[in-house]
């Protein structure tokens, strides 16, 4: 059923889109679960979403995120105390459970897999991005996160709703494909327009993220850092750094 959700975030849940679902306070507020071990980043992310009229729950680890989502207690429902989560945004590099591991756990859960997950990272490593997108991440945002990044996420979700409304004239719902959305909205001249993958089971037809932020000036890093390194990161990051540095 179409839902006139212009100005509101689309709800990706098993609930009917008939307006019957509402948060405990009775409003249509979108509920975002933000996961970041860095307290400064947590505060900024929280504000970014609140300024766009979202309700935010911020936690500092993947474990706590899963606890909040009710997953670690083997609950079948995706909501705890009726607080439905509409979007999960998580840092990639965290001690204990990485954002990628959290993403996998969420997508493995029948109760939670429909919740869109966005990954944030200060290191824009191609292999990492591919890995996350292949695992079902909705988007990958470079840190530091800007208001335009969060607005773009919101626009992306809103557009899905608008298209569904427009195409419902004949009674059949026809959402635009993800590809179409990306082609129309993407105007970034990202370094990631280069062939995207040399690792992982990436689907050939899967488009790159909306616009992985590439406009941030970068001082050269070796990228061979000691934490959150995964197989394939090193080669990709070196290539990417050369590409980025040559574009400065």
């Amino acid at each position: 059923m179409a839902r006139n959700g212009v100005g509101a975030w689309r709800r990706r849940s098993t609930d009917q889109f008939d307006g019957s679902h509402s948060s405990p306070c009775g409003s249509e507020e979108v509920h975002v679960l933000a996961v970041d071990d860095n307290l400064v980043d947590q505060k900024v992310i929280e504000r970014l979403f609140k300024i766009l009229s979202c309700k935010v729950t911020a936690v500092d680890s993947g474990i706590r995120a899963l606890q909040f989502l009710g997953l670690d207690e083997e609950k079948t429902a995706g909501n705890l105390n009726g607080l439905k989560v509409d979007l999960i945004i998580t840092d990639y590099c965290m001690p204990g459970m990485t954002g990628y591991e959290l993403l996998k756990k969420i997508k493995e859960s029948s109760a939670l897999r429909d919740i869109p997950v966005v990954i944030m990272s200060s290191e824009n490593v191609l292999a990492r991005i591919d890995r996350c997108m292949a695992e079902g991440a909705e988007d990958f945002i470079g840190k530091p996160v800007k208001l335009s990044d969060v607005k773009r996420l919101k626009d992306f979700m809103t557009r899905d709703v608008v298209d569904r409304v427009r195409s419902d004239g004949g009674g059949t719902t026809q959402t635009r494909t993800r590809q179409e959305i990306f082609n129309v909205s993407s105007s970034s001249s990202s370094v990631f327009s280069a062939p995207s993958s040399s690792s992982g089971p990436t689907t050939p037809s899967r488009p790159p993220p909306l616009s992985v932020s590439s406009s941030k000036p970068m001082i050269e890093e070796s990228h061979r850092h000691l934490n959150c390194i995964e197989e394939g990161d090193q080669q990709e990051s070196s290539a990417k750094c050369i590409l980025a540095c040559s574009q400065r």
Partner: protein, 157 residues
């Protein structure tokens, strides 16, 4: 028009512009200002204060970790990663850049290099802390005099 207020605002704007020109702050700081409004009038001060407290602890941890007989570089790197992240998030450009250099030395397990970098980071941190505290004082004066804080335009870097 209160000439005194105009002069104060002018001084504030000049001071802020200089911080951007000198590379002490970058455009991310402007992002924070965009997130401040009547409903959250102290947002920037709050985030920056959090950054100060967080960073001081991290810098102490780093000093201690590098003084160990067997330096745990993974641990050191994790702390620098945190510091790099938060300095990046508030727009403390020089602190962030110093962290990047530090991480390279860390990866090489180069203790003298790390120690030099730590000194550099401390210096840059103290500089940005002092500058921002002055900036906040100037803003307070303007607000107390009944004025509003002029928005810094995106500097042409």
């Amino acid at each position: 028009m209160d000439v005194g207020l105009v002069q104060m605002q002018r001084r504030l704007a000049d001071y802020a512009n200089a911080l951007f020109k000198e590379g002490i702050l970058d455009s991310q700081y402007l992002q924070l200002q965009e997130l401040q409004d009547e409903s959250n009038p102290d947002f920037v001060v709050e985030v920056v204060s959090l950054f100060f407290t967080d960073s001081e602890k991290l810098l102490n941890d780093l000093s201690r970790d590098l003084a160990q007989p067997n330096v745990d570089f993974k641990r050191v790197d994790a702390h620098v990663h945190q510091l790099k992240g938060s300095s990046s998030s508030i727009g403390a450009e020089r602190v962030k850049n110093a962290c990047i250099v530090f991480r390279n030395f860390c990866q090489e397990k180069n203790i003298p290099g790390c120690l030099r970098c730590l000194q550099q980071i401390k210096q840059e941190f103290l500089l940005v802390k002092s500058k921002l505290e002055t900036l906040f004082k100037l803003e307070q004066q303007v607000v107390a005099a009944g004025g509003s804080i002029p928005t810094v335009q995106q500097p042409s870097l």
